[in-house]
Amino acid sequence: MSGRRAGRPLVPAYVSTGGKTRPSRNSLERLSVLTGLTVCPAEQSSGAGPPIPLHGTGHDVRRARHNAPPPAPPSHTPAAPPVPAASPIPSAPSAPSVPPGLPAAQRTLLGTLDGGSLTVVETAAVLELPVSAVRVLAAHLIDLGLVSARPPIPFAAQPDLDLLERVADGLRALKL
């Protein structure tokens, strides 16, 4: 418990979820893996979601474009041209299109996933939202077919002996 930021967000988390406080599904754990099935055309945090600051390599040109000073007013209409389907999403033969009316916070979440995978808790940390809010946002995106989710440990409710042994071996290997 540390690293309290200097300022509190002025916008309460429930605003980003449109007032919803319960997710439409209850299966999302902190370590559930969210995978973006599509990339958001021109994601931009014009709404409740905080802007995503850029660190390190700005190899993502699309995002770097938005690294410009304060986010421009949401001049881009929902009819913004979709990103060509050359995106590296093997499992999706045709990436689902993002509905025009998708709320800003969900757009931001989709942009954070950027076609890749993140856990719920990492998504929450990046978006500076409570885990509970990300659950609500992600559940809606899953309902829309824009995001997939999988449990932290496939096909097992409980960690088994074999998994624990591999964790122990993996930790020992770190010391080599």
Binding site: M1, S2, G3, R4, R5, A6, R8, A13, E29, R30, L31, V33, I52, P53, L54, H55, G56, T57, H59, D60, R63, T112, L113, D114, G116, S117, L118, T119, V121, E122, T123, A124, A125, V126, E128, L129, P130, V131, S132, P152, I153, P154, P159, D160, L161, L163, L164, E165, R166, V167, A168, D169, G170, L171, R172, A173, L174, K175
Partner: protein
């Protein structure tokens, strides 16, 4: 720790990540949870801001928060990629009773807990040990060694913390990567030993109790 949130650059899970497991690093405020996480995490520790419900605050006796409708707490976490597609997440979990509502959620699915104890403030650890035990989490105790700490014998500490004989207790400098990894290894070995005992049966051929050299003796004398 830097306070700026990270972007998702470099955070994405590799495709090889198959199993995600979680260990709690629990302890009272200022005991070194984030230090330990930072010393082993491959990412700079991140945090989420969690909101405590009004109900949990109402039963709290903190004078300063009484008039707030909600209060928040930052939960730090880090991650370590291990061989074989395992990704281990470490969650720094505050040990105060008023965070009980959060515990259930954070502890869900955790392998176990590493309880960090500052031997200068042993009393501060009672609450967290209670929470860990109530959550049903197996745990190991790591004594974060501060230079100005009084020296106790292992027996004194075990008695004071009311530990079961099988619970590992090890000394650990949370700033030291290898020491922190060692502490995690003792915890996982403890979990293996427990599970080995539990699944000892005709069907469990590999469940022989492993000949671990019991509890590494702490360096406190």
């Amino acid at each position: 720790m830097a306070s700026a949130p990270s972007s998702s650059n470099g955070l994405h899970l590799p495709d090889s990540a198959r199993e995600l497991v979680k260990i709690l690093v629990a302890g009272p405020f200022g005991v070194g949870k984030t230090t330990l996480i930072d010393s082993v995490s491959e990412i700079r520790p991140l945090h989420t801001e969690e909101q405590l419900s009004e109900a949990s605050v109402a039963v709290d006796d903190l004078a300063g928060v009484r008039d707030k409708t909600t209060t928040t707490v930052a939960i730090d976490f880090g991650r370590i990629s291990l061989n074989g597609g395992i990704v281990l997440y470490l969650f720094g979990t505050p040990g105060q009773e008023r965070f009980r509502s959060l515990w259930k959620d954070i502890a869900y699915g955790a392998l176990g807990a590493l309880v960090l104890v500052d031997t200068r403030r042993i009393d501060d650890s009672f609450e967290v040990l209670g929470l860990v035990e109530d959550a049903g989490l197996p745990y190991a105790v790591a004594l974060n060694t501060f230079p100005d700490a009084r020296q106790y014998t292992e027996e004194q500490l075990r008695t004071s913390l009311d530990l079961e004989p099988g619970t590992p207790m090890i000394a650990c400098d949370a700033r030291d990567t290898r020491a922190s990894i060692d502490a995690l290894i003792s915890l996982v070995q403890h979990l293996l030993t427990r599970m080995g005992h539990r699944s000892q049966g005709p069907a469990a051929d590999s469940a022989e109790p492993l000949p671990y050299d019991t509890v590494p003796s702490p360096e406190v004398r």
